[in-house]
């Protein structure tokens, strides 16, 4: 199993969620994060003093998937979240050794 972690622009969340639901993904965990990347924050003035907002609000999705559909999920996210502009975000894939569904105690692919 894989854990797919995607950092996307917040306003793409709804689209991405729908797109991966369409390919059968039932579970996602979403976190509000602040991102620091090539896209730079903006400079603001507050009472005449400069004020750099370095971090940009981003949304992190975590999706545990079975090995065989990982590729498809990555592509779907990538296609849906792309605007072509800087700051579109990244997808990270890491190995997952075990998954447990708390309600039933099921484990492995069953539990994803």
């Amino acid at each position: 199993m894989k854990m797919i972690t995607a950092i996307i622009k917040p306003f793409k969340l709804e689209d991405v969620r729908e797109a991966i639901a369409d390919i059968g993904i039932k579970g996602i965990t979403v976190t509000e994060v602040k991102g620091f990347g090539r896209q730079r924050g903006h400079t603001e003035m507050y009472r005449g003093a400069e004020y750099v907002v370095d971090f940009l609000p981003k949304t992190k999705l975590e999706i545990a998937v079975e090995d065989d559909i990982a590729e498809q999920v990555i592509e779907t996210i990538s296609d849906t979240a792309r605007t072509g502009k800087i700051g579109d975000g990244k997808i990270f894939v890491s190995p997952l050794e075990e998954v447990v569904r708390i309600r039933t105690g099921e484990t492995g692919n069953e539990a994803v």
Binding site: K34, E44, Y46, P57
Partner: protein, 424 residues
């Protein structure tokens, strides 16, 4: 005998002072309504547009005061004995430029309160009308175009129709009844707002592709609630001060009745909206209750003096029903009004005007209808023209990107809640 003359003069002075003081206190309460609109609107928009709506509200109040001083008051009350002083202030900056009533005229019974207190009371009314617009166009209009519109509305559009009724113009002569301004103030503001909203379009994301209506919840309901309660309090000044005089048993009784009726109408509106909302939606939607209370207040404003308290409660309650229906209907029509201002002040303003003949024998339904339509047509059409001009010059709508990120960052450069809400 001389003692008696002197005493008479002294009594006139006290009476003049009491009426002036009453006027100023009532005016201060109406000024406080500016805070009410500010809080109500800032509670009903999203966090990312809050600093801008605050800016709009304090800015429009200031603009209204300045424009009304410069020309609005003179346009609205051309025959008055005071406006000259204010208007001429332009030519007499400094020590000169203000004349108020003199003792002789007061004792002779020609004037019973300070002309400047009248100006103060009137000026805070203009700001109220303009505040109505601010909520309806929230979350998507350019700040500076809004201010440009404020200049025209408060300096010209409002005073002209105000003159028709309160400046003793043709509507007044015809017998049109609008005690404290369901039409002159509230419908006026709502008509200007409607014109703006139609040109502006709905907020991005308010209506789905497949036509569904999406809720965009307000971010801070305690603020919306204190805003409503401020307006409720301020309305005692709005209606109570419109009796224009408190001295004399009849006047004092009238002001007391107005206070009672104003309060009862708000209570009636709130309860009616609450029950309807419970029956219809299954929940006591707080924002509907608040709109219901305001609807009750708008409804009674056209005539707070002739109904008995129970009738006032009923007039307010019908306002509360109407406002819920109107809000849902406007949403179905895809007329996006984030705070319900057009429903509260416009639709219920119409109800207020048309309800006057129910309790006031001097009012005629036909005349009320003419008055209502005249105000609506005048304000809507002139506003539409001004909005149009703005649309093709400064532009009235912010860019999609700006709307997404929030107007606050783009127009005000500050966030309203930098530590609490993450801008999207």
């Amino acid at each position: 005998m001389e003692a008696l003359t002197q005493l008479t003069s002294q009594v006139s002075e006290i009476s003049y002072a009491l009426d002036t003081f009453y006027f100023l206190v009532m005016g201060a309460l109406v000024m406080w309504m500016a805070a009410g609109f500010t809080m109500l609107e800032s509670g009903l928009v999203r966090a990312k547009n809050t600093a801008e709506i605050l800016t709009k509200n304090v800015g429009l109040y200031s603009i209204a005061c300045i424009m009304y001083m410069l020309c609005g008051y003179s346009i609205m009350y051309p025959g008055g004995d005071f406006q000259g002083g204010v208007f001429n202030a332009l030519a007499n900056i400094g020590i000169l430029g203000k004349t108020d009533n003199e003792l002789g005229a007061v004792v002779a019974g020609d004037s019973y309160y300070s002309g400047l207190s009248d100006f103060f009371f009137q000026v805070v009314f203009v700001a109220t009308a303009m505040s109505i617009v601010s909520g309806a166009v929230a979350e998507r209009m350019k700040l500076w175009s809004f201010f440009a519109f404020a200049i025209v509305l408060t300096g010209f559009i409002y005073p002209i129709q105000g003159f028709w009724k309160w400046g003793d113009g043709w509507l007044n002569v015809m017998g049109f009844q609008d005690f404290a301004g369901s039409g002159v103030v509230h419908l006026c503001g709502a008509a200007a707002a409607l014109a703006g909203v139609l040109l502006l379009g709905a907020r991005k994301g308010k209506y789905g592709k497949s036509g569904e209506i999406k809720a965009i919840p307000g971010c801070n309901l305690p603020l919306a609630t204190i805003g409503t309660l401020i307006l409720w309090l301020g309305w005692f000044g709005f209606n109570g001060g419109s009796q224009l005089q408190v001295t004399g048993v009849e006047n004092a009784n009238a002001v007391a009745l107005i206070f009672v009726n104003t309060n009862m109408a708000a209570a009636g509106g709130l309860i009616a909206a609450m029950l309807l909302s419970r029956l219809w939606f299954g929940k006591a939607d707080l924002t509907m209750l608040l709109n219901g209370a305001l609807a009750g207040l708008v409804a009674i404003t056209a005539e707070p003096l002739t109904p008995a308290p129970l009738a006032a409660t009923a007039i307010g309650a019908i306002g509360g029903i109407i406002v819920v229906l109107a809000i849902v209907t406007f949403d179905k029509l895809r007329i996006d009004d984030p705070v319900g201002a057009i429903s509260v002040h416009g639709v219920v303003g119409v109800w207020g005007l048309l309800a006057v003949p129910l309790t006031n024998a001097d009012a005629k339904f036909s005349v009320q209808l003419i008055g209502m339509l005249s105000i609506l047509a005048w304000v809507f059409i002139t506003s539409l023209i001004v909005w149009m001009v703005l649309k093709y010059t400064l532009g009235i709508r912010i860019s999609e990107q700006e709307e997404y990120e929030g107007i606050d960052l783009h127009e005000c450069g500050v966030e309203a809640y930098p530590e609490f809400a993450t801008p999207e």
